[in-house]
Structures are given as structure tokens and as C-alpha cells.
């Protein structure tokens, strides 16, 4: 069974930081994650996820994208973005992507930068 890589764990922690009432349950999901598969696309990565414990789904829309987080990384002028796809209330895919530059072979994070006004309304 694959585990999340250090950058992916950091990205998930950043994405799940905030005050929205759905976030504590998503953090519980994060402790019960299984990595189903991982793909490097050359412009980013995608990790398909499954939550191994039942009863942790958040209510609401069938499909949501939680994002609004960027990271400054070495050798990329505009950094990288990360986003979390939530399907049927459970984490389904974590992705990272670059902007106008290839995804670096060596990803070295300098700082995480959540957007000034992150939009948590997708979790309502």
C-alpha cells in the first residue's frame, strides 16, 4: 500500500486548515486515507485516494473542489497550486500543478501560501 509523500501530506494539511465546520471531519478522513494510485503528468501530479473508514463523509454536493493554496518552490517563478477533489463527501483526489512552467523534478518548498480569501463555501 502506498503512502502519501511528504509534499502531499503538507499540501493536504494546508488545504484542510481553516474554520469551516466540515473541516474537522475531513481531517478525520485524512487519517484514514489509502493511496489508490499516483500519476505524474509533467505539469503536476494526481493522487487518487480512498477513505478506508466509513461514516466520515461530509454532507452536501456530490462533487466539490477545495483549493486556494499555493506553494513557493525553488526554481519556479509562480510556484505550484494544490487542490482536493471531494466526491460523495469523501476525499477522492489530491492534485498539484504548476503555472506556465514544467513541474519540477525536484520539488523543494520554500513557503506555503494560502490565498488571502480562501473560498470554503464549496464545503457548505
Amino acid at each position: 500500500m502506498m503512502d502519501l509523500l511528504p509534499f502531499e501530506l503538507q499540501a493536504l494539511a494546508q488545504l484542510l486548515t481553516g474554520d469551516h465546520p466540515a473541516l474537522p471531519k475531513l481531517r478525520k478522513q485524512a487519517r484514514e486515507l489509502t493511496v489508490v494510485s499516483r500519476e505524474l503528468t509533467g505539469a503536476g501530479f494526481a493522487v487518487n485516494l480512498a477513505v478506508s473508514k466509513s461514516g466520515l463523509a461530509i454532507p452536501g454536493a456530490r462533487r466539490r473542489i477545495l483549493s486556494g493554496v499555493n506553494a513557493d518552490v525553488v526554481n519556479l517563478r509562480h510556484g505550484v497550486g494544490v487542490a482536493l477533489l471531494i466526491e460523495e463527501g469523501e476525499m477522492s483526489m489530491l492534485e498539484g500543478f504548476s503555472y506556465d512552467e514544467p513541474w519540477p523534478s525536484n520539488l523543494e518548498v520554500v513557503a506555503w501560501r494560502p490565498d488571502a480569501a480562501r473560498n470554503f463555501s464549496v464545503l457548505d
Binding site: 487518487n48 500543478f97 503555472y99
Partner: protein
């Protein structure tokens, strides 16, 4: 004998010409290297000006659910340009001339989430996905 050997000779000459032309193509009569020539093939693949890796990231990841949009628009490139144009319109409307920009916009009747970076007024797509809004 002459009549029989002439076509053989002509054939050999033709083969020689082909081989010579091929070699010329490889070494390049204009000083263009083989690697540059092979690179040109790759350039043709990228003639749309869109990074093929970016196209794969956005449309090849199944969970983005944008395959139907590419089908509807005729190609991944056309769908990419439509998403990029929608992002550009939204960024312009929001007076964002530089920095990160994220929005959900209608593209081909579909609500598409997109996040990109505005560089000198131009929206550069980072990723996009069917947003699921309204589902």
C-alpha cells in the same frame, strides 16, 4: 544484357539517391543537426502552442471529468483554449492583472473550476476540472 542491366543500374542509382538524400536530411545540408530535426517533429506536435503535459494533466486525469468537453469542442486544444478564454474574461472582469486567479466559469455549458496565474495581464491555466456546481 545491356537492356537487362540498365534498369538495375537505374534502380541502384535511385536507391543511392534516396540514401544520399536521407543522409543529407540527417546531417543537414544547412547545418541543422539530427536532434534539431527530431525536435522539429516534436514542435509540430506542439504547433498549437499548448504544453502537451498540461493538456494531459487537465484532460487526461479522468477525475477532472473534462473529456466530454474536449469531445464537444472537437479536441483537447480547442477545449483548453475555451477554458483559458473563460479564465481570461473572468480575470479581466475582476481587474486582476497579475497573480493567482481562481474561478468557476461556464465553458461549453459546463461549470468549470479553474486556477491559474495572471502574468502581464494574460491568464495562464494551472489546472481545471468539472466543478460539480449544481449537481
Amino acid at each position: 544484357m545491356v537492356l537487362e542491366s540498365a534498369p538495375v543500374s537505374a534502380g541502384l542509382t535511385s536507391i543511392g539517391t534516396i540514401l544520399r538524400n536521407f543522409w543529407q536530411w540527417i546531417v543537414g545540408g544547412t547545418g541543422v543537426s539530427l536532434f534539431q530535426r527530431l525536435g522539429n517533429c516534436s514542435d509540430r506536435a506542439q504547433s498549437s502552442g499548448i504544453d502537451p503535459n498540461k493538456l494531459h494533466h487537465i484532460f487526461g486525469l479522468e477525475k477532472h471529468q473534462l473529456g466530454s468537453l474536449a469531445e464537444q469542442m472537437g479536441s483537447r486544444e480547442a477545449a483548453f483554449n475555451a477554458i483559458q478564454a473563460a479564465g481570461q474574461s473572468a480575470a479581466t472582469a475582476a481587474n486582476t492583472t497579475s497573480g493567482l486567479f481562481e474561478t468557476v466559469a461556464k465553458v461549453g455549458g459546463m461549470d468549470v473550476w479553474m486556477r491559474g496565474y495572471v502574468i502581464e495581464g494574460v491568464f495562464r491555466l494551472g489546472s481545471a476540472s468539472a466543478s460539480g456546481i449544481g449537481e
